[in-house]
């Protein structure tokens, strides 16, 4: 019934579009695309013109208008205004960390593309790992197209290679957090001024426990990745967590961790100054290469967990179609091109050949003479956002085996039992708000080791007062319903 209705609507919509297309064939439709990045590029107009010309040649009667907002609050604030005010636009970047996907879907901002996608962007859909499609669906419906890139997450150590080499440490034998202690000790004794273990509250080693945080990053209602009985737990009451905070405390008291770990959020500055020996990072193939380039410090990595796919991993970078779009089908067709057409994809990623880059071989590019990363007129620098990353060129010096490795990494990963489950916090939003607040005061100091583990019962009691049990019960209820429906 529901489907026939949708079908009818679809046919009607199609009719309208066709009618529109025939009557107004002359005027190309402007596809407006909002995304996050390093700000609007000076030469964006040139790229828009080239892209518009190209998609018209490909049969889409459209022009492209790109608008980039910067990192941090700006993208979120702008999109909140644009979406809430009902402004007309077609495509926007959405994810689990900026322009929040779940929130926008719950409010009805994005178009349900479950069926349209199959029809108008089939190739894009086919080339994605199936986990992407299940994981980014909410109640079985898709509202955004994930970018095709690495899928799983894997936690591990980042070590400063200079120091590892200097003291001839064999870090490969490290299997757990506790194993690293002997190395921290060496650094503490021999390298005054270097932080042995940068275990800050926002970039914390607690992530190595790799719980499936199904409710919110700051609410300790969790599942084990391999949960047999799908039981939602209070993370603070698990054995693993208790052991971890004891260890964190030990490291803190030994002076391995910065004294202000619970309050400092900026970690990159110290790393770049060579003042950090180790920290916990999310790893992926060729991570070392990328990080060495971005932080300027050579590194060694040691994986501590298995590559796992959780729901959140599938929603790290996506493009959604706005409900206010006047021509969603055209927008989808455009996204299909971005995801499958090598020329268009690289045009949006790297700009115009000869002006913003030159090819030095089939897939490898470099800056033209006189152009640098600093003065290039078009360098959004976010290839993980614009669709299919496997189509991207490589900058000179980058390892060209990367995409193969990504694919292998995705294949080797295991899926969390809850993959595809999305918690709807609306029924308990007051409790969630209160819990987030307790997290900041109570949990942040514990996981850095700045607070005595003896205070844990106290923190747990405060979470209970904030209504954590209600959140857990609600999560359990939703999860049970989801399990039943999906026969997991």
């Amino acid at each position: 019934m529901k489907h026939t209705k949708k079908l009818v609507a679809l046919v009607l919509l199609l009719g309208v579009v066709l009618l529109g297309a025939t009557t107004f064939a002359a005027a190309p439709y402007e596809i407006k695309w909002y995304f996050i990045g390093n700000g609007q590029q000076p030469d964006v107009k040139l790229v828009e013109e080239a892209a518009s010309k190209y998609i018209q040649k490909k049969g889409l009667n459209a022009t492209l208008k790109m608008q980039c907002y910067t990192w941090g609050d700006e993208y979120d604030n702008r999109m909140r205004m644009i979406i809430a005010s009902g402004e007309k636009f077609d495509i926007c970047f959405t994810s689990s960390w900026a322009n929040l996907y779940k929130v926008n879907v719950a409010r009805g901002a994005f178009l349900d593309i479950t069926d349209l996608w199959k029809k108008y962007a089939p190739k894009t859909r086919a080339q994605l790992h199936p986990a992407f499609i299940t994981g980014s669906a909410i109640d079985g419906r898709n509202y955004a197209i994930p970018a095709n890139k690495e899928l799983a997450h894997q936690w591990g150590f980042w070590f400063n290679k200079n120091l590892v080499d200097k003291y001839k440490m064999d870090v490969t034998k490290i299997k757990t957090l506790a194993d690293a202690e002997e190395f921290f000790k060496i650094i503490k004794e021999k390298e005054p001024g270097v932080i042995p273990f940068q275990n800050l509250h926002n970039e914390n080693a607690v992530r190595v426990l790799d719980f499936d945080r199904i409710a919110d990053d700051y609410v300790p209602a969790v599942l084990y990745n391999d949960s047999k009985d799908m039981k939602v737990l209070n993370m603070l009451e698990t054995k693993e967590f208790k052991e971890y905070i004891e260890l964190a405390r030990k490291y803190f008291l030994a002076g391995y961790v910065p004294a202000d770990a619970a309050t400092v959020s900026e970690f990159v500055t110290d790393i770049r100054a060579g003042k950090v020996f180790s920290k916990i990072e999310s790893l992926k193939p060729f991570y070392d290469e990328e990080r060495t380039a971005s932080w300027g410090i050579p590194c060694v990595t040691v994986a501590l967990t298995q590559p796992v796919v959780q729901t959140r991993d599938c929603t790290g970078s996506m493009q959604a179609i706005s409900k206010t779009s006047k021509n969603p089908i055209l927008a989808l067709k455009f996204l299909e091109l971005v995801n499958t057409d090598k020329y268009l994809n690289n045009l949006i990623n790297f700009g115009i050949e000869g002006k913003h880059y030159i090819k030095i071989s089939e897939n490898v590019i470099d800056y033209p003479p006189g152009v640098t990363a600093q003065n290039s007129g078009y360098k959004p620098g976010t290839p993980w956002m614009f669709g299919n990353q496997y189509l991207n060129y490589f900058w000179k010096g980058e390892n060209t085996g990367k995409w193969e490795a990504f694919k292998k990494f995705n294949e080797s990963s295991i899926s969390a039992k809850s993959l595809g489950f999305n918690f709807d916090s609306t029924p308990v939003k007051n409790e969630v708000a209160a819990c987030i607040n307790v997290w900041q005061t109570g949990v942040a100091p514990l996981i850095c080791g700045a607070a005595d583990p003896k205070t844990l019962p106290d923190v747990i009691a405060r979470f209970k007062a904030a209504g954590l049990d209600k959140v857990i019960a609600e999560a359990q209820r939703q999860l049970d319903a989801w399990v039943k429906k999906n026969k997991k």
């Binding site: 941090g72 960390w97 990328e290 971005s294 976010t382 993980w384």
Partner: protein, 306 residues
């Protein structure tokens, strides 16, 4: 004027001892306010790597102007942004002072029957607002402020707090008798306003004009709401964008992966943050004496009468 001023001071001055004590207190506090800015300037001129090792110092351990080069190289817009900011500040200050003074005067008049209503009408907007979304909606759809220079000016034309302050200045500094006398001489309300009220309230007007100038000069918020066109971006917004995205990239790694690489590896974060303050604040500090000129002039009622 200078002569009159000193003459008046000698007559009414405090004792030399009190004067010395007051000066010491004020100098002490002035230093508390100046030194942080000196520190900011010094840090902005320090080599980034020495900052991470030795922390902030009043004298750069290793001198470097790289932070400034970096800002000017990434934002080729800096110069045009200065232009926009100056235009907005000048236009905005003049207009807002005029509109606010015109509003403040009637509600300062004891004989104006509706003064309480209009005061309330004003105060109400200080407490209640429709929220960002609906304000944005009206701004874009009704007032057409999007990508318009007016988007940076219009919303700040009326500041309830300042209007009330101005009203109080008018009320306390301008005797009713003076207005009455002018009226008997046949002056219209507008003549009274421009010829008597405005000159007498000069210190108050200068103060509010200073506030308005600073607000227009420092504001990034309106640009973040209404401006997309790079040609209309004012300086504070440009700096705000660099600042917040820098902050974000230094605090988050897992979301955006290693792809932020190129910008991050060359970015002088600490020094750049301070250099942005210097670039943003520098020019406006120089306009200070201009406002102060009106602030100490203190026209007396006698001068007007005579």
């Amino acid at each position: 004027m200078g002569k009159e001023q000193t003459e008046f001071n000698r007559l009414s001055a405090v004792s030399a001892k009190t004067n010395a004590i007051l000066n010491i207190i004020l100098l002490g506090y002035a230093l508390v306010c100046i030194l942080p800015l000196v520190l900011v300037i010094s840090v902005s001129l320090t080599d980034e790597s020495t900052l991470a090792l030795y922390g902030y110092r009043f004298f750069p351990k290793k001198f470097s102007i790289y932070a400034y080069e970096f800002i000017f190289s990434t934002g080729s817009q800096v110069v045009s942004a200065y232009g926009i900011t100056i235009l907005v500040t000048v236009l905005g200050t003049i207009l807002s002072i005029l509109i606010m003074a015109l509003y403040a005067y009637p509600i300062s008049r004891r004989d104006f029957k509706y003064k309480n209503f209009f005061t309330f009408f004003l105060i109400f907007t200080m407490l209640f607002n429709g929220g960002m979304v609906s304000t944005y909606l009206i701004g874009v759809n009704v007032l057409k402020l999007k990508d318009s220079i007016w988007g940076l000016i219009f919303p700040y034309l009326m500041n309830a707090f300042w209007v009330i302050i101005l009203r109080t200045f008018f009320k306390t500094n301008i005797p009713d008798s003076l207005i009455e006398a002018a009226r008997i001489d046949g002056a219209g309300e507008f003549t009274i306003f421009f010829r008597i009220v405005m000159p007498l309230a000069l210190p108050g007007l200068a103060t509010i004009a200073l506030f308005a100038t600073l607000q227009y000069w420092n504001d990034w918020f309106l640009a973040a709401l209404y401006i997309n066109d790079p040609k209309l971006v004012p300086l504070p917004y440009l700096l705000y964008q660099v600042q917040t995205s820098m902050q974000y990239l230094l605090q988050n790694s897992s979301n955006i992966g290693g792809m932020s690489g190129d910008i991050l590896s060359k970015m002088p974060s600490e020094a750049a943050r301070m250099a942005m303050v210097v670039i943003g604040v520098g020019p406006i500090v120089l306009t200070f004496p201009f406002f102060q000129k009106y602030l100490v002039k203190g026209l007396t009622v006698g001068a007007i009468k005579g």
